[in-house]
Amino acid sequence: MTLLKINNLKVYYYTRRGIVKAVDNVSLAINKGEMIGLVGESGSGKSTLGLSIIRVLPPQAKIISGSVIFNGTDLLKLSEREMRKIRGKEISMVFQDPLTSLDPLQKIGDQIVETILEHEPNISKQEAYNMAKKALQEVGIPPDRIGNYPHQLSGGQRQRVMIALATVLKPKLIIADEPTTALDVIVQDRIMELLSALKKEYGMSILFITHDLALAAERSDKIAVMYAGHLYEYGSSSDIVNKPLHPYTKGLIESIPDVFMRKEIKEIPGQPPDLTKPPSGCRFHPRCPYRMPKCSREEPPILQVNGRLVKCWLYS
């Protein structure tokens, strides 16, 4: 059952250097109870896509066209007030740096209570506090720390608080933008464990945005690969990891270091393009080992191959 459908979304940034086409005509579907790994390099547009869903983009960004259908409503057409009802309650977001994402002057308990009361004004303060305590417990933080300030917690604990904040009202979708990038690998694993557990317990969908394909593949049901503002491949994790179709995906997989050093690490040559002047045709063609003359002239369409979506001339 489709929970969220993004159709032909275009999001551009207006900067002094020019117009950055960060997300250029991207379509994506998220089903109920699914974890989707949205993978891409820095500048691929993956974060922008995430921010666009709940419309918390910085002022220089504009959503040009497209639709984001959630529960039958197009989120892009809602007023700011209606959007606020959705944020934090139906769809919530977890950000990359938990230290700067929490108000340093407010106790963590108060921040959770504030969110609860904003969306459910009829709940008593006492009840809200109990909910907050429970939420902290669920993410593995002893409830007696409810009176702590963010700087009194470790990095991993702060991220858990962010997750508590994001899940306390049991949203249907969590957008996690690089939630583990600022943490060390052991903590990373625990946080991923926590997210999977929450997903299973409450049937939440998770859009997991990351640059780490291996991390995404570990726990996601599906993987979406973005590059230079376009979506290039989308399918189930196992399919994509075992049999990547798009040359970029192949390159990504080949560049993952293997613990047992069974193969050479091959990196993708070249650099991501300047999005104020993206390459013509397929945006990946300058770095693609399989490029054909057609690739530099025409943008490839999105094709269906074996239950997967691929944007590449190789498969037409």
């Binding site: 918390v56 606020r84 950000f95 929490l102 002057l105 300030y149």
Partner: protein
């Protein structure tokens, strides 16, 4: 919170070396005088015995080290010296005579500057990059660059000389104070306390031009400060995260302001020194009978001990205010602890 207590104790102890150094500096500066202060004061024609006697009184005949420690211990006992001119009146008493006037002026001036600074700074910060912001930035630069006496004089010209609406000098209409004794020295307050609202009103009338002059010029610095802090805080992630939780604009703004105003508060505390500088210039322009006018008068008469005592008082005053501000800051921001 024991960590707060620790901070207060340590910070207070830190004030001691700072004060000592300031006092020593004042001592050094005033002793650097070429020639001797007593002769400058009474003139070359005075009989040498008279000069000797005054020197003796001022303790200038003792060796420098002895003078230094006399001076330090005197201050510890609250003895700031005695005036060489006005019949040996203790300097401290004279300071307290003139201090309330300066305090009243600085309170009102500070209030004006804070109000202007907070409002314009917040608007400029929230609307950063727009024409409003640029206009307000230019305002803040112009305000900061304004020479206080000049602004005061322009106000005197317009409201005093041309429009004849407001008084241009002094604190109060002398006729109102016949048979009236102030309690705290703050006339606005004293009028209320003694049931003489006419005094309060007249004091306020006299306060308008000086406070606004002082307030406008000081607000220049505050506008820039508030603006910079608001911009910085707005760019921080927790603002976006708060928005992403569905908090209303007002709630988000509340978080932003709380975070932005804290560094502003400390800065304002440190700006107390600038407040005093401005007060001195304002007092001179409006013939306001406060510490500034007092100090200048004594410098003119070369009343050496009073000058020394007054500057020492300034040094102590500023140090204590900074201490209080730092402690207040620690009270508000939970991150500041030793």
């Amino acid at each position: 919170m024991s960590s707060l207590r620790t901070y207060v104790i340590v910070r207070t102890l830190m004030t001691i070396p700072i004060v000592l150094i300031l006092l020593t500096l004042v001592f050094i500066i005033l002793r650097v005088m070429p020639g001797d202060p007593i002769t400058s004061m009474v003139g070359m024609k005075a009989p040498p015995e008279y000069i000797e006697m005054l020197k003796e009184k001022a303790g200038l005949n003792k060796p420098l080290i002895v003078q230094y420690f006399d001076y330090l211990f005197g201050i510890l006992r609250g003895d700031f010296g005695r005036s060489l001119i006005w019949g040996e009146r203790p300097v401290l008493y004279e300071i307290f005579d003139h201090l309330p006037a300066t305090i009243e002026l600085t309170i009102f001036g500070f209030a004006v500057s804070v109000i202007i600074g907070l409002i314009t700074g917040t608007i400029a910060g929230v609307r950063s990059g727009t024409k409003t912001d640029n206009a307000l930035r230019i305002y803040s630069i112009l305000a900061y660059a304004t020479f206080i006496p000049w602004l005061g004089m322009m106000f005197q010209l317009i409201f005093g000389v041309y429009l004849k609406l407001l008084p241009v000098s002094g604190r109060i209409e002398p006729s109102l104070t016949i048979d009236w004794k102030p309690i705290t020295g703050l006339y606005v307050l004293d009028g209320i306390l003694t049931g003489r609202l006419d005094i309060t009103l007249d004091a306020l009338k006299h306060l308008i031009l000086p406070s606004i002059t002082l307030g406008i010029v000081l607000s220049g610095a505050y506008t820039r400060l508030v603006r910079a802090n608001i911009i910085e805080v707005l760019g921080q992630d927790f603002v976006r995260a708060a928005k992403a939780r569905g908090l209303s604009e007002i709630k988000v703004l509340k978080h932003v302001l709380k975070n932005a105003f804290i560094p502003v508060l400390t800065m304002m505390g440190l700006q107390f020194a600038i407040l005093l500088t401005g007060a001195v210039l304002t007092e001179t322009t409006f013939s306001w009978p406060g510490m500034g006018t007092f100090l200048l008068e004594r410098i003119k008469y070369v009343d050496y001990t009073t000058i020394q005592g007054t500057i020492v008082f300034f040094a102590l005053f500023v140090s204590i205010v900074n201490l209080v501000v730092d402690i207040l800051y620690a009270l508000i921001d939970p991150r500041i602890r030793y």
